[in-house]
Symmetry: C2
Subunit: 371 residues, 2 copies
């Protein structure tokens, strides 16, 4: 195998597939990235137990890919990124010089490392499941941003570490929850489907970072895997097994108190109180009435008190307490100027929405308020 390529294009794709390299995988062959040249194509592949990525570079004027010898090799994922990054020229040459011994060259620098024969690499099935839909990459990134933070980071209930995608008809409901807070976004698809899958949020975060800013991404699903096909890159992720909880009935639909508030005002107030913690948690107590919102937070040593004005408030006065970062995160991802917070009572879950966007809903469970 011997090829030359523009350093930047090569590094971009190396960085993409590196997301699937697990340097701690019990299968040492998976510590490598597979490089293969064929015709006018360079293909890079990497995989861990959760995610597999294949990037394809087709020779064109911009990337300057020149394939001198066809072939393939596995190169240690720990080194290859550093090597390409540190190459001292705009072009890189990669050549298997002797069996598996590989030279990576720039202008005056020559890196050498011993690769591994590519036939020891597991065969990864990137075949496309039948059921698929298309989503714009910006919408996909935004979906991940607005929901995945609410998933659990604990492995006790594995299914809660994922993002659930549930589609009956042409509305896909996407939910992440750690059972104390929940984020839900509805997306209308161009086509009709019937699926219910849960994808690891780590995979979703990787995918959101890999896809471009404005391109069409085809998402193909079956009961085993999800395959995301973007420009020159295929990303395949395992699904999380197990029944995702029926969350729709947790979401209240009737509210006794409704607050509309400037998002910047409440984010700033929550941020100011955020350093006051009890056992690592910042508890906010909020007293609401038509005229003002009193936000207090206290630890053994410190008290913070602040007053902000509501845009509007309907209902009886209410006092409610919650984890400050839960509400902060929920409001932050809405990217809204004004938010509506709807309460059913001081021990009932409450709902946060942008006043301009009904598609995204954030739900937070309050905690007991001590007087």
């Amino acid at each position: 195998m011997y090829f030359k390529i523009n350093k930047k294009d090569f590094l971009d794709k190396i960085n993409i597939v590196s997301r699937a390299v697990s340097l701690t995988s019990p299968l040492p062959v998976l510590h490598n990235i597979k490089l293969a040249t064929r015709g006018n194509i360079l293909q890079l592949t990497a995989s861990d137990s959760d995610i597999s990525i294949e990037a394809t570079i087709l020779s064109d004027e911009e990337n300057g890919l020149q394939i001198i010898n066809e072939g393939s090799i596995l190169l240690d994922g720990k080194y290859i990124g550093d090597m390409i990054r540190k190459i001292d020229s705009d072009f890189v040459e990669v050549e298997v010089v002797d069996g598996t011994y590989t030279s990576i060259r720039g202008l005056s620098v020559n890196f050498e490392l011993n690769g591994i024969r590519s036939d020891t690499y597991p065969l990864i099935d990137f075949s496309e499941p039948e059921d698929s839909f298309v989503i714009n990459s910006a919408a996909l990134k935004n979906l991940v941003f607005q929901t995945c933070f609410a998933a659990s980071d604990k492995e006790t209930k594995p299914v809660l570490t994922g993002l659930n995608l549930n589609c009956e008809g042409n509305t896909m409901t996407c939910v992440a929850t750690d059972s104390y807070r929940l984020a839900q976004k509805k997306i209308v698809l161009d086509t009709f489907h019937n699926f219910n899958v849960t994808i690891p949020t780590k995979s979703m975060n990787d995918i959101a970072k890999i896809v471009g800013d404005d391109e069409n991404v085809r998402v193909a699903l079956n009961e085993k895997k999800a395959l995301f096909i973007a420009d020159g890159v295929m990303i395949q992720t395992r699904l999380i097994e197990g029944l995702y909880p029926e969350t729709s009935r947790l979401i209240p639909s009737e509210f006794a108190h409704e607050l509309v508030v400037d998002a910047r005002d409440i984010l700033n107030a929550l941020d100011r109180a955020s350093f006051i913690k009890n056992e690592g948690v910042c508890i906010i107590r909020m007293e609401l009435n038509e005229n003002e919102i009193n936000i207090t937070s206290r630890s053994n040593e410190v008290v913070s008190a602040e007053k902000i004005m509501p845009v509007s408030y309907t209902g009886e006065p209410l006092t409610i307490s919650y984890k400050g970062n839960y509400v902060y995160d929920a409001i932050r991802v809405l990217n809204a100027l004004k938010v509506k917070i709807s309460f059913s009572g001081n021990m009932k879950p409450f709902i946060i929405k942008s006043i301009d966007d009904d598609e995204v809903l954030q739900l937070v469970l309050p905690i007991k308020t001590y007087s």
Copy 2:
């Protein structure tokens, strides 16, 4: 105690004295910052066992300091920085409202915390030792930058964790060494002195960050302490006891090989090889002759080889090995376009200097070269 002040001016000084707050000090009172108002002065004091800082703010139009009540209080250093930073207005009010209970207010936010009576704070003697000299703060910052990195970070030989300042006559020789590398800078003072003190490099680094970009700093020394007096700030540090080694006779004065090289070329080459490590250390092997410099680095898995051109080389060809980061650091701090590296042999310490500046000398011990 009750005062108002411009948030930015107050926060600047809080950040300065916070460098001397040790949240882990066995003396709990030292977890605090002392605030005291008197006449038209606000004074902030903090201290740990190594360093004590006193910042004085004199009321003027810019800082808007307004002292409504004289008094003093100790406030927890863990919280006060966060509180001032998060205040939602350009002005801050600090008021002891009830005994030691203190309110810190902005526009709509009110932080409250329980302070401690200031008479429990140890009396810190900021009296000025008789022997003193003046140095420009830019020169002081540069001295710290060019030397302190070479000091030891191990407490086995405490004196090597410091910066030694040795003055006989009007030339002050400043040395830091971990016994594998050494950085030395000579500074000509305006006055004549006779001192030999070793200051903790941690203190020197703090002082370099505290002083302004271009102001005169008075440095006053005796056998117990060093006091740095800058604009509105006094910083006092303990000295490290013990005899500093006589380093001047370690520095060779005759050389069999002299290399002049473009600083950027060699820094880039060392940086490129820096990821190739054996047990965490990057060993560089350098082969020198009149025509080229071959730089190689190898681990069990990877080899890097690179050729750069010398500006000039005199002497027989030489092969020498060293820790890459030692030479990288030494060249980097010289801020030079071209550097001269002078060798006496492949197992003798070698010297690195800027070709334009004879005041700073970097010395590195080679390691055994295997062929």
